[in-house]
């Protein structure tokens, strides 16, 4: 039972976090909005005056814009799809009794500790390089022509690299959820003659709903702004330019801060659309 006293105390305790985040959000956001209406070219003397909505129009009318939005959604969707399916299967497997369970768990979660830059560099050079890479050697050993991973199958390769990094996270959360499943309930259903598929569909999956929600939510937040992996592997070539990467090109490669800032505003809008969409679909799972 909350008293008036504890309510104001609560507000006071929340204040630092809220104020800090408000500042962290508002200061850059205001500056981004400000720059987005300016012709701001650092290499040409900086601020060259107001230009209204020019930057916004130019950013969307660029031939790279819609492909970049599509690429962003494909990467986010693809990685979510792969990590969820494999994550559930892996979590189910790891929950089974076996020898050396602890060690296997360690092996499975290890990619989560690898920096995105390192993982991009390692996959690109030591594995996907079509001349000296491990996969090229493997292909050749079987008499096949090595695959040009990062040019011929650029998006699938990128999705694979990112999924490798995020699979441990999904597996961990799903495993925690599965472990909390009441094993007596499962046994009862087993005795009732429910087969494996039924048990999975009617008991395990509903139990995992909240965990899946959390995985989708957290991963989406991180995946929308994915950058390092693309920067070190394809640098945006072969259709791997995401919205974040396009903004990077405008701000740092083209040195057009105004145009990039307008792109930033679009990225925030896209992120919010995705967030609202997510909330509609999965948000109710978070209550309770």
């Amino acid at each position: 039972m909350a008293t008036q006293h504890s309510r104001s105390a609560a507000r006071l305790m929340m204040a630092p976090a809220v104020i800090l985040l408000l500042g962290w959000m508002l200061i850059p956001l205001t500056m981004t909005l400000y720059f987005s209406f300016k012709k701001y070219l650092p290499l040409r003397g900086g601020d060259l005056g107001w230009v209204g909505f020019d930057n916004y129009v130019r950013f969307v009318s660029s031939s790279s814009f819609w492909p970049a939005v599509a690429t962003t959604l494909i990467i986010v969707g693809g990685v979510l799809f792969i990590t969820l399916i494999l994550g559930v299967l892996l979590a189910l497997l790891l929950d089974q009794p076996m020898w050396g369970q602890g060690v296997v768990r360690i092996l499975v979660i290890a990619p989560f500790f690898v920096m995105p830059t390192v993982s991009g560099l390692v996959w690109k050079n030591m594995f996907m390089d079509s001349n000296n890479g491990f996969l090229a050697h493997l292909w050749r050993a079987f008499g096949a022509e090595p695959v040009q991973w990062l040019s011929q199958a650029s998006l699938p390769s990128l999705i694979m690299i990112i999924s490798w990094q995020w699979l441990p996270f999904a597996t961990l959360i799903l495993l925690t959820a599965i472990q909390s499943l009441d094993s007596e309930q499962l046994e009862a259903s087993e005795m009732d003659g429910a087969n494996w598929l039924n048990r999975f569909g009617f008991i395990i999956l509903p139990h995992l709903a909240r965990a899946i929600t959390v995985v989708v939510l957290i991963q989406t937040i991180f995946l929308l702004s994915i950058f390092a992996e693309i920067f070190v592997t394809t640098a945006g070539a072969f259709g791997t330019k995401t919205l974040t990467y396009l903004i990077y090109q405008r701000v740092l490669e083209s040195q057009n801060v105004g145009l990039g800032s307008a792109g930033g505003v679009y990225a925030i809008i896209l992120a919010n659309i995705v967030a609202i969409f997510l909330m509609r679909i999965v948000g109710k799972n978070l209550d309770a």
Binding site: M13, W123, L172, T176, Q179, R210, F227, A271, L286
Partner: protein, 276 residues
């Protein structure tokens, strides 16, 4: 009552799990192998690589060229500093959200998470200018602040979900006994919240350790962490697989080892309130 498990099933599980586990771990294992080879051997076929001589040469070269320990200590300072500062600010916020919830609690939580969606590269110039003004460029302190802010939403959310699991009756009982707010926090809640806080710290140290945009762009020589260390070994002229492997192993080893020792905590702790 434990389910009866036949040895046969356990064997199948073991084989399947180990196969998949090794497959997932293989890229890391392979760079560990390459890091102990000479540059010339590192580009050969896998069988030739395994058959070639082992050497520590790459590690010596990397250590001679760049001061590993300086970068390492910067990484530790930034990761641990930002996490602890974040915890300090998040605990009161999460506590009040969990125990004195209002209609707006969920909205505030969601809003906090949404601040993470701002694309970092779009605000590089504003933040860089701000850092120059405040004299924070190339300081670990500046990075501690930025990474704390980046991860604060995750910290608040994780703590909130842990705190919510603590039954409210215990608090009521403590209040009956005349405990004030401070005592309540210190003696009743904290012990119950320790496992949750520990998991939160673990996850955020990992996230901060691996952050590669701000740590690279806001530092020069003094505050540069391991992410900058790696950037000096990616695709130079000439052969570089062995040196890149050695540098990579050095950059990820500390966090990998920490993760391994605390994996039980991680497996139990990463619930984000997903488990009732």
């Amino acid at each position: 009552m434990a389910r009866a498990v036949t040895n046969r099933r356990k064997t199948i599980n073991t084989i399947a799990a180990w196969t998949i586990g090794l497959l997932i771990f293989f890229p890391i294992l392979w760079i560990i192998v390459l890091s102990f080879k000479s540059e010339g051997d590192a580009i050969k076929t896998p069988l030739q690589v395994l058959g070639s001589a082992w050497t520590l040469e790459s590690y010596f070269v990397v250590q001679e060229r760049s001061d590993y320990f300086k970068h390492f200590f910067n990484s530790v300072t930034i990761a641990v500093g930002s996490t602890l500062l974040g915890i300090l600010i998040a605990v009161p916020a999460a506590w009040s959200m969990a125990f004195v919830p209002s209609k707006r609690t969920r909205d505030i939580l969601m809003w906090m998470l949404s601040t993470k969606m701002l694309p970092a590269v779009g605000v590089l110039y504003p933040i860089y200018l701000l850092f120059i003004r405040l004299g924070l460029l190339d300081t670990t302190f500046g990075l501690v602040i930025v990474l704390m802010l980046i991860n604060l939403p995750i910290i608040v959310w994780m703590l909130y979900t842990y705190f919510r699991e603590i039954p409210g009756e215990i608090l009521e009982a403590a209040r009956m006994d005349g405990a004030n707010l401070r005592a309540e926090l210190l003696y009743v809640l904290t012990p119950m919240a320790v496992p949750g806080i520990a998991s939160t710290i673990l996850l955020n140290v990992i996230l901060a350790w691996n952050e590669a945009f701000w740590t690279l762009n806001l530092t020069a020589a003094k505050a540069a962490p391991l992410t900058a260390f790696i950037a000096s070994y990616s695709s130079p002229e000439g052969l570089f697989y062995a040196k890149l492997s050695a540098a990579s192993v050095m950059a990820i080893a500390p966090i990998l080892i920490m993760g391994w020792f605390s994996q039980k905590q991680l497996v139990r702790g990463l619930t984000f309130g997903a488990v009732k």
